[in-house]
């Protein structure tokens, strides 16, 4: 019998309902294990304050890692790629048109050659 939600991909199948049920069962088991633990959390106590080796807590603005810092290493590693691709996005309509006509001619040539 075909299960509800089974999507046949031609190569295999995908059933999100099974995944969700498995997730619920796993979550329930995790919750039960967690419940068996010893709670040491005290609401409103010192535990809730950030501990930075005894130093005073910096301002909120100073501790948030800004979006521009994320994946800095990735873009630095691919500097050679980005140094070519980013300038192509010049914001100049003349450049955009050149790309468009260039691609059109290239596709026309390909379609003629491999007709």
């Amino acid at each position: 019998m075909e299960l509800t939600g089974t999507l046949l991909t031609g190569y295999g199948f995908w059933n999100p309902v099974i995944l969700i049920l498995a997730g619920l069962v796993t979550g329930l088991v995790a919750y039960l294990l967690w419940k068996r633990g010893v709670s040491t959390y005290r609401k409103g106590s010192e535990q809730e304050k950030p501990y930075i080796s005894g130093n005073p807590e910096p301002e909120k603005n100073a501790v948030h890692i800004r979006g521009g810092n994320v994946y800095w290493g990735f873009t630095e590693g691919l500097k050679g790629f980005y140094s070519r691709v980013i300038p192509a996005h010049s914001g100049d309509l003349n450049d955009y048109m050149l790309w468009y006509f260039g691609v059109m001619i290239a596709i026309c040539a390909v379609v003629v050659i491999f007709q």
Binding site: T9, G10, Y11, K60, R66, V85, G91, M97, Y100, V110
Partner: protein, 518 residues
């Protein structure tokens, strides 16, 4: 025969022209009129879709005594009127557009409430709707061009709707210029076909077409023009400029507009030219555009600091998936065995991705708009800690970003797995690139999530609160559909995607639906 088909264009047109007049009376009445007209459009769209899925292709000749009479007795066997041909693929696009437009209209009631010039905004929004519905419904090349122009001009004006220190005007101007050039060359290609076959009707031309030199140039002009309007690399440069400067609700509609152009590429490839062209070459051209779009789009998204610009590059990347899936379908169109083995599933994946992409990308742009609405900035370096105060928006963002990254059980995964597995048989290398791009997409949205919602509550956003209810309803509708499409993908595929893919490959059926009425 359906009476609802012309209403898809007539209602938005009537609404558009009436809005400036009603706006003179009161803004509340204008908003009520906009919602009522939108509901009427959605109802007629749903009726059309239902009829197509239950009865079959709708053919409607405007102005004919019998709307099914596509070829007048004295026309020499050539269909001449404005003819709507709505098969399952057109119905699929109508459904996609109707859902998105309803969500956007709802969202706009609040998001644009503080803006001036709302009469023009809603009038142009409805004109854009008329253009999109016309593009996906018409069976005539010249009418397609007219609807494309209506859609493009309204889109350009809407992109420039907010002054925003000149950025929006620049974005709108670029969109308008690019659209005008693309439209002009499309019209040039239509002229080439008209000169050869004495008709503008897609079905008629398809029935008599021979692959001459002029036809070859026409197919290239049409595909490149529409690929540029869809935002395929390397003709995508306008998308980040326009998408980032347009109001977010309009960006969500521009997404639907680009989907309509994508639809047209494949309507032309499958229904107009079909096997008369070298499908392997054209298929591979589309696939290569798809691969480039996938990779360049996501690679350019990663270092962006402007959230809307980042999302615009992701739009380019997602277009690549659809081009690849459907491109594989074109490439194997001439081989029944390969089509049955993997080509049809690849097409299903590409088509399913159209509606999934419209839902989650529309949602993500609306979320970006919600953040801008409350915080007044789209710079990721300035945002942070919004998860404390905009919990619903954050929840919707999680749903949208997991969907675009192809994480199960959301809808993006369902369509991507169809593409991955079928394209893998065609060429494993392409499938691997598609998977790597999904990982990079996830990485990119982790960055956005961290930058916007994580971290301590920032002092400058201490007073920020959740967006108004209509905006939440607009976003919530899309989020719910993303979840439902993800949990029941088989239902969506069997009901609307599979018939759409079948309609695309059944060229003789398309021709017969129009020419059979002689």
């Amino acid at each position: 025969m359906s009476m609802y088909a012309p209403l898809l264009v007539a209602i938005p047109l009537l609404a558009a022209f009436a809005i400036p007049l009603i706006g003179l009376v009161s803004s509340k009445l204008r908003n009520t009129w906009a919602i009522a007209a939108m509901l009427a459009t959605v109802v007629s769209a749903l009726l059309v879709v239902y009829e197509v899925l239950t009865v079959g292709t709708i053919v409607y000749a405007l102005g004919a005594l019998d709307s099914a009479l596509t070829i007048p007795f004295d026309s020499g066997g050539v269909p001449i009127r404005i003819i709507f041909v709505i098969d399952a693929m057109s119905a699929f696009m109508i459904l996609t557009a109707a859902i998105m437009m309803f969500a956007v209209t709802l969202y706009s009631i609040s998001s644009e409430s503080k803006q001036t010039g709302q009469d023009g905004y809603y009038a142009l929004l409805f004109l854009m709707m008329a253009g999109i519905f016309g593009m996906v419904s018409t069976g005539d090349l010249f009418n397609f061009f007219v609807f494309l122009e209506i859609n493009s001009l309204a889109g350009a004006a809407l992109a420039a709707y907010r002054i925003n220190r000149g950025y929006s005007v620049e974005g709108g101007l670029k969109y308008g210029f690019i659209s005008a050039i693309a439209g002009m060359l499309f019209l040039f290609a239509v002229g080439m076909l008209y000169g050869q076959y004495n008709s503008l009707n897609i079905a008629y031309i398809a029935s008599v077409i021979e692959f001459t030199g002029l036809s070859l140039v026409a197919v290239v002009l049409m595909i490149t023009s529409l690929a540029m309007k869809s935002g395929a690399v390397p003709m995508h440069f306008w998308t980040p400029d326009t998408y980032s400067s347009a109001p977010s609700s309009i960006t969500a509609i521009l997404i639907v507009s680009s989907m309509a152009c994508l639809y047209a590429i494949f309507r032309i490839a499958f229904s107009l030219f079909g096997l008369t062209m070298n499908v392997v070459t054209v298929g591979w051209v589309i696939i290569i555009l798809g691969i480039l779009s996938m990779f360049i789009g996501v690679a350019m998204a990663l270092p962006q600091k402007d959230v809307k610009r980042l999302m615009a590059y992701h739009s380019v990347s997602q277009i690549g998936y659809m081009l690849t899936g459907l491109g594989v379908g074109v490439a194997v169109l001439g081989d029944g065995h390969l089509m049955a083995e993997f080509g049809f599933v690849a097409m299903e994946g590409g088509i399913f991705h159209i509606i999934n992409y419209a839902l989650y990308k529309g949602l993500l742009f609306l979320i970006a708009g919600a953040v801008i609405y409350r915080c007044g900035t789209k710079n990721l370096n300035e945002l942070g800690g919004l998860g404390h105060s905009m919990k619903w928006t954050m929840a919707f963002f999680i749903i949208g970003s997991l969907a675009i990254a192809g994480i199960p059980p959301f809808n993006g995964f369902a369509s991507k797995i169809l593409i991955y597995e079928s394209v893998f048989i065609f060429n494993p290398f392409i499938s691997v690139i598609a998977m790597v791009v999904s990982i990079m997409t996830l990485a990119s949205f982790v960055k956005v999530f961290h930058s916007m919602f994580m971290g301590p509550k920032l002092p400058q956003f201490a007073d920020v609160k959740e967006v108004p209810l209509p905006m939440l309803l607009g976003m919530g509708l899309l989020a719910v559909l993303i979840i439902l499409f993800g949990i029941f993908p088989d239902l969506v595929v069997k009901t609307i995607v599979e018939p759409a893919a079948l309609a695309f490959i059944d060229q003789s059926g398309y021709i017969g639906s129009v020419m059979g009425g002689v």
